[in-house]
Symmetry: C2
Subunit: 122 residues, 2 copies
């Protein structure tokens, strides 16, 4: 993150929509979470198990950001033990289309990628 002389965060004023979107969903987990929510409402622990290798902290953080940005909704039921459900919001639903274009490309080119890939762990 850039800072100015007073060590304050320089707020990036997003002149560029690509950046704007990538800054939020171009991370390791957001797409996987949105994909998991494609067909079903999900609870925190279910998502945690489904994705498998995400830490609870990152799951929590990423869900907060996705909610904050309007991709998903978070519904709390007054129960014990707690029940919190995450679901796609309008923006998330609309995002499915480009996301699935990407996923389709991934499917179609999976083999080509494996063939092209020379080294593991670069």
């Amino acid at each position: 993150m850039k800072k100015n002389a007073k060590n304050e965060l320089i707020k990036y004023d997003h002149p560029c929509p690509i950046r704007d979107v990538l800054d939020r969903i171009g991370d390791q987990w957001s797409l996987l979470i949105l994909k998991s929510l494609e067909h079903d409402v999900m609870r925190f622990n279910t998502l945690h198990k489904e994705i498998g290798d995400i830490s609870r902290q990152m799951l929590s953080r990423t869900l907060k950001r996705l909610e904050n940005d309007g991709y998903i909704t978070r519904t709390v039921y007054a129960q014990v033990p707690p029940r919190v459900e995450y679901a796609l919001a309008e923006l998330g639903l609309s995002f499915l289309k480009p996301m699935n274009t990407l996923i389709q490309w991934a499917d179609e080119n999976h083999e080509a990628i494996c063939r092209a890939r020379k080294t593991q762990n670069l």
Copy 2:
């Protein structure tokens, strides 16, 4: 990264193409680099200036990964000072389509995202 009892990296065997693609291009910089190369061959420093807020180390690393995976090519000219050109390879070219679908969505929803976004810096 997951490790086993002997502290060796557990090699993720990529049963899932989405993961396979996201693990490589789902980072902060890859899409921006590929987008920069869409219309032009580019040199290292030019990319560095164009993207602006990437460190040289990350640029170097990301370019290596993209080359290794077959998205881009790297051509060295025997000159001094050195001239190294990066260009889209076949896989990179084919990736433009889903990438631009994503970018188009970003453009179209830019406003909605800004409206939905409640908090900066989450």
